[in-house]
Amino acid sequence: MTAPVIVGRDLRKRFKQRAGGTLDALASVSLEIAAGGVSALVGPDGSGKSTLIRMIAGLLSADAGELTVLGIDVAKDPQAIQDRIGYMPQRFGLYEDLSVQENLDLYADLHGVSAAVRAQKYPRLMEMTALGPFTGRLAGRLSGGMKQKLGLACALVRSPELLLLDDPTAGVDPLSRRELWEIIAALVRDEGVPVLISTSYLDEAERCDHVVVMHRGAVLAQGRPDDIAQVAAGRTFRAAPRGEESPRKLQARLLADPTVTDAAPEGGRVRIVCTTAPGDAAFAGLALEPVPARFEDAFMILQRAADATRAKMSTGPAPALRAEQLSGGVKAEVVVEVRDLVKRFGEFVAVDRIGFEVRRGEIFGLLGPNGAGKTTTFRMLCGLLTATSGTLNVDGADLRRSRAQARRKLGYVAQKFSLYGQLSVAENLDFFASAYGLAGAARRRRIDWVMDEFALHPLAGVLGGHLAGGFKQRLAMAAALLHEPDILFLDEATSGADPVARREFWGRVNALADQGVTVIVTTHFMAEAEYCDRIAILDSGRVLAQGAPAEIRSHALTEGNPEPTMDDAFIAVVEQARAAALQGRAA
């Protein structure tokens, strides 16, 4: 056994916040990363993953503690470490106005890579990243997945002694994620480079050799993912819904149960993590099928135990988000109708003859990689963009003619936080209420209502810009619900959110749908498709498949893979479509 590459003892880092006060980004972190294999840092937003990685890269100094990387004291000689490691920051750090080749050359020059080594290295990097045909393209014109691969290639121009990747797969589609992991696996196998990666994807963490679970600047657990999964041993089950109940309804019901730590829809059933080993009488009538514990189960148990302050999912009846109750459940009535919708930006066809229907009370998901056309479709549905051609009906109103009428019934939560950072929570709500035309007692009542339901009262005076990620999202959703819309559009609402916050979000969406609100969401977390009644998969502006989650999953059904995940299904659908397109071109 060789010496570990990273050894940290009692590391602390405190940041001053703009609002005054301090934030303990790292509170006594100790860790040890072995010389071989892939290690992962996992944890919710703000748990200190990036701070720790930057510290290891010598970009941040610790307030206290000791950190040794490759046997070098980081505090004493950060440059010696920076001379020897490869690092890809969260936003890839590429020069967008330089071409792929120029970016690579720059980093090769900076690392002092000789011409001979380049001649041998470049073809291999190009083969690995499949960027060969694009060497002349400006980095700014690459897709998210390609940027990520170029960032990785830049970090690998000289064989590093340690590779640090800060959240490289955030906002990247499953196909690109899988390719990145293949590159990393090859790197570890062929060159034996130790890799430390931070991620919010638990399935990625599960395949690593070593995992460090973080929470609010502290380490909750570290070790092999299999060993950590044992925390959940004997507490994980799967149950099928009975009769008419949909998996997401069952999931919502179970999550409200105090003896349940976590419940998530999965493959048409619900995966349950119990607080303690359940007795026979628990969950009357449900057939519980024990399943092996996974890393994700243990992660949820650890996070929930550590975070006693985080309110458990609302219990009892669904929160009354509407004054006027619509009757719940999916109706036959079509509220959103899209046919042959096309949007062109100059030569570029962003949305290419897509069509789908959404029924009242349904949760409908638009899934696809970045650039698939999800957000463009959304903006057209909300009347923010004019369609080039096609039919677009929302709740009986033709959006191409009477936008204002249609908009009154819509709530829209944009991808980025689009409220006012300089206004407090209460001021933001007040402003949006008046923008929707609410006044007087009605306005006060609605504002009180959403603040109750989203537990925003304690934060009423906090500036929007100072809220933590999860609370920003709550506020945005509260603002979109002030005018009691019949249809709610949520664009990439869970992008960048941690697993715990995502569960909360879907709990709220579920409750809304139960009250008859039609919800349309976009997401690139494929697993979240399980929460939807129906989904459509988009790629390059076209709908590749649509239907209930079970139908979509069946696309990837093979003998070798009897229970495909949504990720498998997505990859299968996209690859089939691309292969068909290639054949079509060849013919």
Binding site: R54, G58, L59, Q79, Q90, L98, Y107, H111, L138, C154
Partner: protein
Amino acid sequence: MAATSPGPRLAAKTSRIVALIRKEGRQVLRDPSSFAIGVVLPLMLILLFGYAMSLDVKHVPVAVVLEQPSSEASEVAAGFQLSPYFETRLTRSMAEAEELMLAQKVDGIVHLPADFARRAAQGDANIEVVVYGVDANRGRFIQAYAQAAIAQAGVRRAAEGRSDPTAGGQAVVESQLWFNAANDSRYFLVPGLVVLIMTLIGAFMTSMVVAREWERGTFEALFVTPVRTDEILIAKIVPYFLLGLGGLLLCLGSARLLFDVPIRGSILLLVAVSMLYLLVSVSMGLLISASLKGQFLSSQVALVVTFMPALMLSGFIYDLRGVPLAVRLISYLVPARYYVSLLQSLFLAGDVWSVIIPNAAVLAVFAAVLLALTRLTTRKSLG
């Protein structure tokens, strides 16, 4: 790590700097905003100034006060009426003309008194020229043209064998510049233009490109390489320094061709002090962006801290001898002030060592202090 001899180490350092400079150059050429600030804006400033100086003083409205028509007086008035430089309005009294001037209907008054013809015959005719001088530059031009128009009338008379009422002290042109009598620099524009362009490229542009690297996270990736802080700084200074020199050549060329401004001092000295000022200006830009790290804020601060003082407190627009003591004291902290002094003397007076040595010395101290501060503030750290 095995100790390497200084030779290869220096070679590695040089190749890293060259790589960074090459990158910077490509970015300037490709990024529309750097191109706009580095090349288009200086060109526009030069053309604007050139246009204002060469074309703006045509068709100037003037009032010609003809108190008593006579052949001599009419001839002078006709000279104005025929000139392409003036739009003439004939009036009969000075009061009427002054009213027109105060209403800004005319920019100048040519006063031919009632006794013009009689005194012209006696040989001591008087023509009063009054110019609206709020815009000092324009005022000077109107004054000069008016004198030329009057002189021409005299030459014509002389050529026709008659006596010239304005020649040989017979007629005295009395010129007054209203509202801005203290203006004493005829060529203040060109040195000012040079200062503005050097400041713009040096401070404003550098602060923007450095802040952009912080903002886009490109520095973060760059830091985790063998690159050293001083190499990053050198690679940021050199391209914008060169771009600034390009701007200087543009200005000097236009000074000769467009503005006809003399360069009485040595060009070599002019370039040398400009390099000194560029160094000051670039390091101010680096210092601002290293401490603020946001593109928008950096460019705003750079504008307020460098460009505005260069415009207003350098002695380019306002004569510093005329400003209140407090403002004058602040102006001593503005590097542009020393550069303006240097430029004015090198352009208009020549190599006046008693001006050049102290001002250049102050600029050198500024450059040294600012560069040292920049080196201390810029760290390969995100904290």
